[in-house]
């Protein structure tokens, strides 16, 4: 699916509207985030703590999952385990069918996107309605999110106004954001009130208390998890934290990194279904824990760091590639730098196309990651696993990027660059004949499409150093 990054990038780059939308949005998000972390010492200490909390939870993951499950069950939450997205979809469908549910109202959940849950439910006669405004908009448009935090960031208000006019009864065309928001509120209120179940993700699962922590700005997360009689949450197994106390530093990192907010409007801590005597809240709460390749990522000590991710999206906001091409170009549920390392690991390198190479390794993502994921190092590791897999390959599809020609080129490169005598002869030759290589030669052709041909100097630095009398040792 992701094999076509270059083709989609071509289309995206030639869409000035899309480029302008992303550029403006990313610039705004970078500025807002920077304002939140002006105190560099505090930022450094805070992210070190955030990284340690996640690493610590991962180090104890199987134990914490069991502890969480035990507490959650005691709290009245039903816990399910799914090895694959197909399993997770089946579990969700079974729960809904058992309740005779026909309509599900959804809070924003990237795991449900990973599952392609909506399509699965529709195929079985259950309507899934997205309630996050951005998700609602792209659902109307029949599209996938282009950003993990701001799913419709690729659309401008003109496009949204038209979508609303086309899809909402008696909705006049207006680009007034308050009016558009009010229209969505009205439609979605009715959907909430008539939904048989609510579905959400979770940002953190607290082992100590068996609680789900869910953050959001709109209130749709609260509604989805409170108004319908049934609440189903889906979450990756990496969402565990050890203590409730661990949530505080992570909350100090997540919204500030994501949207430059000190905190989201709502932080929900959900610990049990409606208790006897309470007037509202779902009568049942189910949690589906999804693996879908995460345990394989976990098996490698270096790659495991990928699982620290708290899905803030700062990496994509700061990525010079993402901000040029937008989220859809990646052809994967998770776009941007985190998508470039997560997708090849979850789906397999054989299914991820050129994603690991769609990066200049500029480290802008690494600089802002609130949990210090070494994204660039992991990208290089994935390139290595694709080209020359290690003895016991940790990644599905390892070796799928192997090319005999490319390997031969690098062998040839080594023969020249690891041998001083060969290097001297080779560079001398290049400085004499290099400029005769035509601009249309392979590789140079791509380079010279927007740049002039680099000029080989008449003398190498090796020669100049000798001539100027610089010592050799």
């Amino acid at each position: 699916m992701a094999a076509d990054f270059s083709t989609r990038a071509h289309d995206a780059l030639n869409n000035p509207q899309l480029r302008a939308n992303f550029r403006r949005a990313m610039d705004g998000l970078m500025t807002k985030r920077a304002a939140q972390f002006e105190d560099k010492d505090n930022w450094t200490a805070l992210r070190a703590k955030g990284a340690a909390i996640k690493a610590r939870a991962l180090a104890q993951l199987p134990d914490l999952l069991e502890e969480f499950e035990q507490k959650a069950i005691a709290n009245g939450i039903t816990v399910h385990w799914a090895e694959t997205t197909a399993d997770a979809n089946r579990i969700v469908l079974e729960i809904l069918t058992a309740h005779g549910a026909k309509k599900v109202i959804k809070g924003k959940s990237m795991v449900s996107e990973e599952m392609h849950l909506n399509a699965h439910l529709e195929a079985h006669g259950i309507k899934a309605v997205e309630s996050d405004l951005g998700e609602y908009i792209i659902q109307l448009a029949g599209e996938a999110p282009s950003h993990i935090v701001m799913p419709c960031i690729h659309k401008n208000k003109g496009e949204i106004a038209q979508l609303f006019t086309d899809n909402i009864e008696n909705q006049p065309y207006t680009e007034d954001v308050d009016a558009l928001t009010a229209a969505a509120r009205q439609v979605l209120r009715r959907e909430f009130a008539s939904a048989d179940a609510g579905l959400s993700g979770a940002n953190f699962l607290v082992a100590e208390t068996g609680s789900l922590v869910l953050i959001e700005n709109e209130g749709n997360g609260r509604l989805s998890t409170t108004l319908p009689p049934l609440h189903i949450a889906v979450a990756g197994i990496e969402k565990l934290v050890e203590k409730l106390d661990d949530v505080a530093p992570l909350l100090a990192l997540l919204p500030r990194s994501a949207t430059g907010q000190a905190i989201t409007t709502y932080v929900n801590m959900i610990t049990s279904p409606r208790k006897s005597g309470e007037q509202d809240g779902p009568r049942q709460v189910h949690l589906v824990l999804l693996d879908n390749g995460r345990s394989r990522v976990y098996a490698d000590e270096q790659l495991r760091d990928t699982l620290r991710c708290i899905r803030c999206g700062a990496c994509m906001n700061h990525c010079p590639v993402y901000s040029r091409v937008g989220g859809h170009t990646y052809g994967s549920v998770y776009p941007g730098p985190i998508g470039k390392i997560l997708t090849p690991q979850l789906a397999g390198l054989d299914c991820a196309g050129d994603l690991p190479h769609a990066s200049t390794l500029c480290n802008a993502c690494v600089e802002v990651c609130p949990v210090q994921i070494p994204i660039a190092d992991i990208l290089v590791r994935l390139r290595t696993e694709a080209a020359e897999p290690s003895a016991s390959p940790a990644v599905k599809g390892a070796g799928s990027g192997h090319s005999a020609v490319e390997s031969a080129v690098w062998k040839g490169w080594q023969a020249m660059y690891a041998n001083p005598a060969a290097y001297k002869v080779g560079t001398k030759a290049l400085s004499v004949v290099g400029n005769l290589i035509p601009a249309a030669a392979p590789l140079l052709k791509q380079w010279t499409s927007v740049r002039t041909k680099p000029k080989f100097a008449a003398k190498t630095l090796h020669q100049l150093a000798r001539e100027k009398g610089y010592d050799n040792e």
């Binding site: 690493a55 180090a59 009130a193 709109e218 693996d291």
Partner: protein, 202 residues
């Protein structure tokens, strides 16, 4: 199902064991004037703050409700608020849903405290003040005792012993419902209240 559980746990246990790192030192900030910080932060996200006293809050509330042209108010009877049309959320949501969704203009709830650092209210819904009370009506008025404002989240988790007894649902509320999904333009009241008014009792 149990097979999936066993398989997942087995794969995780088969992975290389690493020593869990210690949590390095970092402490959330504290403030000389917590009310001042709270006020600044919540006002920055469109919240409204009124400082009142045990004696003045009811007439003050009345004035606010009148100014906002509120008709029906949702509030727990024990609050004894001074308003003509007050309803209590004293029936299961299944019977109360229609009224909640569109028949109430404002609600008044208590809070468990607040967080100065982020301008957040701690709201713990209970039998008298169910979860949807603070969510569905367009205006949410929250009563907060000034002494209950903590410096930061970690402090209030510790001071109130949350981990030992988590309620069904615990909320941090920082401003009215909002979205910036359309061109990064802020709009309020997308799903929850359009207005959040905090009466701080000093």
């Amino acid at each position: 199902m149990s097979e999936a559980r066993a398989n997942i746990l087995a794969r995780l246990r088969a992975a290389p064991q690493v020593q869990p790192p210690e949590r390095p030192y970092w402490q959330a900030p504290s403030f000389n004037d917590r009310l001042d910080r709270f006020r600044m932060m919540i006002e920055a996200v469109h919240g409204e703050v009124h400082v009142v006293t045990e004696q003045t809050w009811r007439p003050h509330l009345r004035k606010i409700l009148a100014e906002k042209n509120v008709a029906r108010v949702l509030a727990a009877p024990h609050l004894g608020i001074d308003w003509d049309d007050v309803v209590a959320y004293d029936a299961p949501v299944e019977d109360f849903k229609d009224q909640l969704v569109s028949g109430i203009d404002a609600c008044v709830t208590t809070t468990r405290g607040a967080i100065a650092e982020t301008g957040s209210l701690v709201v713990v819904p209970d039998v008298d003040e169910p979860r949807l009370a603070s969510l569905l009506p367009p205006i949410h008025v929250a009563l907060l005792k000034a002494d209950d404002i903590a410096d930061n989240l970690a402090q209030i988790i510790e001071a109130q012993g949350w981990a030992a007894a988590m309620p069904t649902n615990l909320l941090l509320i920082s401003g009215p419902s909002k979205t910036a999904d359309i061109e990064q333009t802020l709009a309020y009241g997308v799903h929850g209240p359009k207005e959040l008014i905090v009466l701080v009792l000093q």
